[in-house]
């Protein structure tokens, strides 16, 4: 099997899986229990919480465990206090776990404003700063976009925003960049950051939220008062430990991984770019973990299925929204012409992909395309 859909999810890393099994078997007690076993686990959880914070120099933040990045995003977006006329700024090319909760705010009289972007789907920072006004309550930034691979230096942008509007709340969805790109929270420029375990080789069902200690949000879940009262639920100890294990592994050699993945990315882009007539790469500033391409005249689902037949897995659009018919509003927002919406293929990488697998992938894609030339209308 050759899996190239790491932006959707990743397999659980060896050590993370080992920890998962070990903790589920032995350290299964409820961390809130007052007995020795519970106390021990609680202490260990506090230690990894500290580990997540220290790794990003985030002393001014709490790190809260959640069940998914969707939950983390919802928590912040729905947890702030709004008054009628408040504005929430968001990019319409962002993930549904950001856009959908934002949409629910409309019923409270909140206005949703699109963040200005250029034709490559990148945030136009200058324009953004220029258009800031008194009504902006929340700005949501996506660290790395899941389709374009566009990266935002969120800390630097947040600094600029706060210079003009210090009281605006800045939330970052860092799901695709966490552990893969450097992030330094020492300046406390952003107010909260969503991160997820399963995109970096941790288990599904565990995620996190960094939130400035001096900021308050209304919790979605009330109960036993865990996670500083912001998210009640029995702590999912084994998942948390496994998450941390995966995070340590991916962030340890971050720079090395980044450089390696860049080689994979560039190789695919160059080889397919040179050998597929008419192929387009709509996001020249994206990458290296995500490579999106358009093969005009070839429905991406057809290529995806030809690849799956030989056990190669790539995405034809975001896993959450891929379905049958044409128009895709996210693609539109990212600047992809509607005539290409059925032709978008996303290949996403990880440092665990071997270089020779990439050669094999390129070879197979070209072979399939060569076999399908008859689909091109004369």
């Amino acid at each position: 099997m050759l899996y190239l859909d790491y932006a959707a999810t990743a397999p659980v890393r060896g050590q993370a899986l080992k920890v998962l099994k070990e903790k589920f078997t032995n350290d299964f007690a409820n961390p809130s229990s007052s007995h020795k076993l519970g106390r021990k686990i609680n202490k260990e959880i506090e230690a990894i919480r500290e580990g997540f914070i220290k790794s990003l120099n985030g002393d001014k933040y709490h790190f809260i465990f959640t069940s998914s990045a969707t939950e983390s995003n919802n928590m912040v977006i729905k947890g702030l206090d709004y008054v009628k006329g408040d504005q929430v700024w968001v990019s319409f090319g962002d993930h549904p776990s950001v856009l959908a909760p934002v949409k629910t705010l409309e019923t409270f009289g909140v206005k949703i404003v699109g963040i200005p972007t250029d034709s490559y789907g990148r945030v136009d920072e200058e324009k953004l700063i220029f258009s800031l006004n008194e009504s902006v309550k929340l700005i949501i930034l996506t660290h790395v976009n899941n389709l374009s691979g566009n990266y935002i230096d969120v800390v630097s942008l947040a600094r600029k925003i706060k210079k003009t509007r210090p009281d605006v709340f800045i939330h970052v969805d860092a799901v695709q960049g966490f552990g893969k790109y450097p992030l330094d929270l020492s300046g406390a420029e952003v107010d909260s950051i969503s991160v997820s375990a399963h995109k970096i080789g941790g288990p599904k069902g565990i995620s996190g939220l960094y939130i400035l200690k001096n900021k308050t949000i209304n919790p979605l879940l009330d109960g036993g008062g865990q996670e500083y009262g912001l998210r009640s639920s029995t702590l999912a100890g084994p998942l948390m430990f496994s998450f941390y294990e995966a995070y340590k592994e991916i962030s340890h050699d971050q720079k090395k991984h980044f450089e390696y993945v860049k080689i994979l990315y560039e190789k695919v882009k160059e080889m397919l770019g040179d050998n597929i007539p008419g192929v387009l790469f709509p996001f020249p500033y994206g990458g290296p973990f995500i490579l999106t391409m358009i093969i005009p005249e070839l429905p991406s689902d057809v290529l995806v299925r030809h690849l799956e037949m030989i056990d190669i897995f790539v995405a034809s659009s975001s896993a959450c929204s891929s379905k049958v018919k044409g128009f895709n509003p996210t693609f539109q927002a990212l600047g992809i012409d509607e005539k290409y919406h059925k032709n978008v293929i996303r290949v996403s990488f990880s440092e665990i992909v071997k270089l020779e697998s990439i050669d094999f992938f390129i070879e197979k894609v070209l072979e399939i395309l060569n076999d399908l030339t008859f689909l091109k209308k004369k």
Binding site: P299, V302, R305
Partner: protein
């Protein structure tokens, strides 16, 4: 509420010597359906060319609905069985009338006295019951020509049946009375309607779907399974063959002139359906073609396809307008499923200018030089076969290794 069902057989009057076989075919089908839906003992008898089914327990709506879909049933009377005592008949008739929502309806009593020893004759019973019903329901009126409610009373040797509820069946001929077809399903609106129409004419069917994976996705299979489940209620257990066709289409595409692609795909689907028909003992092929609807349904293309088929091709929709097809599909409940969008291999492969008046020489030369029989046999061997039971539940049949 009702523990007696009277089934009136359609088109029985057309039949001569084979009337018994015809009646029996329908009876076995009804028995089969009742056994899979109804809990409790069943007693079957034939009275006055009708099939009478009695049970100790009442029949559920679901059971009655299933009976309504049986080809060959003209109508179904839901009846109460009463002792041979007119006072009791009246009491039950009052109960029956009380359930009618509209209070000022017109009615008529229609008595058939097959037990001639019963003291009152039919007319007397009509009059007596009519009189007492009018007394009990001051707002109702008699209308012997076009009544809104018709109270049927059947005086039999052992009991009396009364009924006001008549449900219309789909009519036509009992299933199997007109042979066995291979029905080519496509996932669109037409083929399920064609299947229904021929079920009504008594045709047992085996369903075939040509699956163009990897050119189309698996979501089309869900559609086909749903459609088969709906139209199988007009069958009496059937089979569905999902025939892999994508790889073979690729082969044809590379050999045939672009403008002939679509009609050539049709040709090989018909060849494959004939092979399937041979395997399952079917005598004809059924398609949802309507004349001129798409390029492969022009007279020229239909003529060519008819020439290559070893079996007759039935096209019951040939003279239907799209709106008429839509109408029937809504009636039989396939419309909502048929219009779910899915990837369509035909449009993917569709040539810019499909051939409308095919060149006979090219066609003949190509089909002679490219029989592809082995490929077609392979497609059939690799088919996923599903068994559809009387309730429309679909289960895959394990492949014979």
């Amino acid at each position: 509420m009702y523990n007696v069902i009277l089934i009136n057989v359609d088109e029985l009057w057309l039949k001569g010597k084979n009337r018994n076989v015809y009646f029996k075919t329908l009876k076995t089908h009804a028995k089969d359906v009742l056994k899979s839906y109804h809990q409790g003992n069943l007693d079957f008898s034939n009275i006055l060319q009708r099939l009478v089914i009695k049970s100790e327990t009442n029949f559920s709506d679901e059971t009655i609905k299933a009976l309504e879909s049986i080809p060959g049933i003209h109508s179904i009377n839901l009846a109460r069985e009463v002792e041979k005592d007119l006072d009791k008949v009246l009491a039950e008739a009052i109960e029956e009338f009380k359930q009618i929502k509209n209070k000022n309806f017109t009615f008529k009593v229609f008595t058939a006295r097959s037990d001639k020893t019963f003291p009152q004759n039919s007319m007397e019973v009509n009059r007596w019951l009519g009189h007492h019903l009018l007394e009990n329901f001051p707002d109702i009126k008699v209308d012997v020509h076009d009544p809104e409610v018709s109270l049927e009373v059947k005086i039999l040797p052992d009991s009396i049946f009364i009924s006001t509820k008549k449900l219309m069946g789909i009519g036509g001929q009992p299933l199997g009375a007109s042979g066995h077809l291979v029905t080519m399903l496509s996932g669109g609106l037409d083929s399920p309607v064609a299947s229904f129409l021929m079920a009504k004419r008594g045709c047992k069917q085996t369903f075939a779907f040509f699956y163009s994976y990897p050119f189309v996705g698996e979501e089309v299979l869900d559609k086909i399974l749903k459609l088969t489940s709906i139209i199988s209620k007009y069958q009496r257990r059937c089979k569905l063959y999902i025939i892999p066709f994508g790889e073979f289409q690729k082969i044809i595409t590379k050999e045939v002139r672009e403008e002939y692609r679509t009609v050539m795909f049709r040709k090989f689907m018909i060849d494959c359906s004939n092979l399937l028909a041979q395997n399952v003992g079917a005598q004809a092929i059924l398609t949802g073609d309507a004349l001129g609807q798409v390029s492969s349904q022009t007279i020229g293309n239909i003529a060519l396809l008819d020439q290559v088929s070893q079996r007759p091709i039935f096209r019951p929709l040939i003279g239907f307008n799209k709106a008429e097809i839509v109408q029937v599909s809504k009636e039989i409940g396939t419309y909502e499923t048929s219009i779910i969008p899915h990837d369509d291999a035909c449009s993917l492969f569709a040539p810019k200018h499909p051939i409308i008046r095919p060149n006979e020489k090219y066609w003949n030369d190509f089909t002679r030089d490219h029989p592809y029989t082995e490929n077609l046999i392979k497609c059939l061997e690799q088919a996923m076969v599903y068994d559809v039971n009387l309730k429309g539940e679909i289960n895959p049949i394990e492949a014979k290794d």
